[in-house]
Amino acid sequence: MTLLIEQTLNGIQLGLLMFLLAAGLTLVFGIMDLVNLAHGSLYMFGAYFCASFSAWTDSFVLGALLALPAALLLGVVVEIVVVRKLYRRDHLDHVLATFGLILIANDLVRAVWGPDGRRIPLPAWLNQPIFLTPDLPYPTYRFAVIVVGAAVALFLYWLVTRTRTGMWIRAGASNRTMIGALGINVEALFTLVFGLGAVLAALAGLMAAPIVTVSIGMGDNILILAFVIIVIGGIGSIKGAFIAAMIVGMIDTLGRAMLPDLLKSFLSVTAANTAAPALSSMAIYLLMAGVLVWRPTGLFGARS
């Protein structure tokens, strides 16, 4: 029973992390209609910035706080230099150009930080278990991720539904040309949104870093998952991204935890151990294919 609760919490934690990554992606896609394969690179930079700043300041929390504005700056620069020129192009051009950005990002990281990965050591207070109930220890760090993730999700909800900026963002998502006609500085809005996406991705990266270790190309594999999430949730919908991220987080975590035992009952131990992660990955793709067949624009997709 404790195992189930622990795995469920892990699923929530993964889901929230994936939500942070997917939210930025779906915002950029929904508002600027931009397919950004390099979003995973922003995730990677977040982790690397945090690794450096933490080592510098000898504090994980300070390192994390410094990494965020650095990521914002990076996002803004990339938007102005390259991404801006892509808005008028078709999706294939976006895919190709951002694919090029991935190549540049990976080698740039290798040049600055070297080919070996980095580890981010956690401070003692985060490294011990927290007791949710007297019998239920849970890693404090993972719990912190859940708290921060939930807080950011609530902040995003507030931003998008209750502020003027959020209103512009939602208006932009449904009709880009109109908001220009309404006198809003569309260029600045797009840069802002891209920057926001970069910060969210970087936050996801630096929070994941102590768990998965920092390495080159760490964003590329998780990027596909983020795309699957926004497709399931519906492009442009933050709510959809949230729900889809939670579902995917659960399936992935519970799948990896439960499947090996389930499979061992009729497969050999080694076979079960290799098949399980493959199967839980497949389950997610099957889910996406299923959703698209039923609702071709995702669960909460706005555009048709």
């Binding site: 051009d93 190709l96 040049a111 596909i224 699957v228 497709v231 793709y285 698209l292 995702g298």
Partner: protein, 358 residues
Amino acid sequence: MGGFLTPLMTWRGRIAAIVLVLLGLLPWYAPWLDAAGIISQKFALTLMTRVLILAIAAVSLNLILGYGGIVSFGHAVYIGLGGYAVGILAHHGITNGFLQFPVAIGLSALFALAIGALSLRTRGVYFIMITLAFAQLLYYVGVGLEAYGGDDGLTINRRSDFAGLLPTRGPDKTVAFYIVSFVVLLLVLGLVHRLVNSRFGMALRGARSNEPRMQALGIATFHYRLTAFVIAGALCGLAGALLANHTEFISPAMMHWTRSGDLIVMVVLGGMGSLLGPVYGAIAFLLLEEFLPGLLRIALTWLHDALVALLGSGAVGTLDAWLRLAEYWQIALGAILILVVLYARGGIDSLLGKARHG
């Protein structure tokens, strides 16, 4: 008679002919290049065989991407399917090429039919994602196939045997395989040429140009696109079977989504919707991958020496430090890709001269 030679009347046509002739005659002038110290014969043939095989895959993708406007991000899957068909059969002792290759092609066609039937009903980025999803699905199936090496892959001990007509071991096998690959490329090019200029091709290209218009003419575009999708998958499976023979190794990595990305880059780099574009793209992409570090070193050396002459060695730094930059050649590759997308969107083929309509 005139029809056959008309391509030679344009510069694009002449360059195409020259490239094909240079490719075809490589086995004959490779020893000369070897003797001149330019490049080892074996290395040249091995590299260029890989170029030929990926060119076949790129040509198959161009059929649906360039001519059909169908952005499939899962095309490398068929390389994997074709390769695994050959590999698995060889693993179980079936090395008869006349059996393996039709299975490879047939299996790829079948999967393309299933995937296409489900995906082609979606549009835009949803289509891209669903093809990506199916590709990753099959990738994970490959990873999970413990019996056939899983993630580590499977070595193929014996190449496909075509009733002894093709040497599968010994010194002749490299040249023979190169020639076979080249002939297959020519046949595939010929087939695609016929296809895109036939009524079927017109329907496909019209659907790319303006789909509602085509439907308003009475053409049910879904069926033509699906057919093109299946043909492209089958041809790509053929490339996969050849690749498995060439590398004598199969692994799920052949099917990873980044491989599909590579194929798209080849098609776009070479020029979408032109017959030889994907061939140019495959050559450019693979040669860049292979030689860009060296080229960068040469360029950086030249630049370094020129700047030293202008500003003195104190200001510029050591040659070694500069040369170390060449290690990060993927930055240059990424930048080239971005520049092509922004400024030379028509690819290499468009730089060679104006194309005919459609």
